[in-house]
Point group: C2
Chain length 222, copies 2
């Protein structure tokens, strides 16, 4: 177990939620969780999950306000954007859900927060299934970003993606092995009352949680 503090980008989705449970087992220091308020349609839902997850795992939760993203950037994920497309991530129109360089911005802020507190590790839940649509989830990106944060800080802050080489199905299995409560997480991009069940992230969640062998507690609209 690593005897150090760490920071986790915590969206409130299942990937970063399982990452938090995993880190709780692997890091003995204080865990700081960063949530970002940036105007996505499901922001309120996912931040509520991030807050609850942080309580459950005794992490220090901090919300960062980034109003400029909703004000200046275009994405169907944002409140100012068009409707979220239905369908799987294989469909070309899923690119409309990309928020430009979102992970780069969030990781940079996390690296600054880490430097400010003398923490040397930032963790992100990016996984192998993320790469085709989201370039700022790829291992090449994570590696370059880590080099930037290491060279750009006195604390030599590194960025790691422990799930970079595995898919969401394996993340679900890790969660199951840790007795993780998936009902504490939110995925649906539409941010409605319950998960829609037909947007790409709902479809992906459904498929992944089949690997928990019946432990999916999610209520889907369809």
């Amino acid at each position: 177990m690593a005897d150090e503090d760490c920071i986790i980008l915590l969206s409130g989705g299942m990937d970063s939620g399982v990452l938090l449970a995993w880190a709780k087992k692997n890091y003995s220091g204080t865990i700081y969780t960063l949530g970002f308020s940036y105007g996505s349609k499901h922001n309120e839902k996912e931040l509520a999950c991030a807050r609850k997850l942080s309580e459950v795992f005794s992490a220090q939760f901090i919300i960062i306000e980034m109003p400029f993203i909703n004000d200046l950037f275009s994405s169907s994920l944002l409140q100012t954007g068009e409707n979220i497309p239905d369908g799987s991530y294989n469909d070309n129109d899923m690119r409309s859900t990309v928020v430009p360089f979102r992970n780069g911005i969030m990781l940079s802020i996390a690296a600054g927060y880490a430097e400010n507190k003398g923490i040397r590790k930032v963790l992100i839940g990016a996984h192998s299934g993320d790469h085709p649509v989201y370039p700022d989830c790829s291992p090449v990106f994570i590696d370059a970003m880590s080099k930037a944060s290491q060279s750009g800080t006195y604390a030599n802050v590194s960025i790691e993606a422990p799930f970079a080489a595995i898919g969401k199905d394996k993340i679900a299995e890790i969660g199951r092995s840790l007795d993780f409560d998936f009902s504490l997480t939110w995925s649906c991009y539409k941010g409605g009352e319950i998960h829609c069940g037909i947007c790409a992230t709902c479809i992906e969640r459904k498929i992944a949680l089949e690997f928990t062998k019946g432990l999916d507690p999610t209520r889907y609209s369809s």
Copy 2:
């Protein structure tokens, strides 16, 4: 002359001001200038200069609000921080003016803005004199950050520091050769009525502007 649009991080200081003048000569496309409101003591002064510079050079000026920096980070540069130390950058206490990973955060937001507009170039005025105190000005950092933004965007956004290999004295000379009006810029970290003349950035400004051979229009308190 490069026939493309570009983005410049414009603090309103002399380095980024001369960079804007230099880019105006070297890029024929639209220049977007990003100013950041992050709660530094001299933020109001420098953003007023950034706005004026953008008008003079017909650049599109955008202000990004980053309230989390003043709220969460510690630095004597910030309104929430202790007093700005007097003396030169060689003094050890100048490290108190570091805002953790500030350039990393600003460049990431600029890369996101570039991606959103399909712009492929972000320029920053970091120079060789910046490196010892500010790790997020070093060529190693800039290079890693550029790799991160290239790999993390569809537009393959690159980050360049045209003045990385030269000092502030050479920037002053370039400004002189471009008939740049240095009175349009603000340096002093204290953000008073006029430049204090005794903080590190004022001392550095004075020395550099001697290379303009008498063209320093700045009024200093001492």
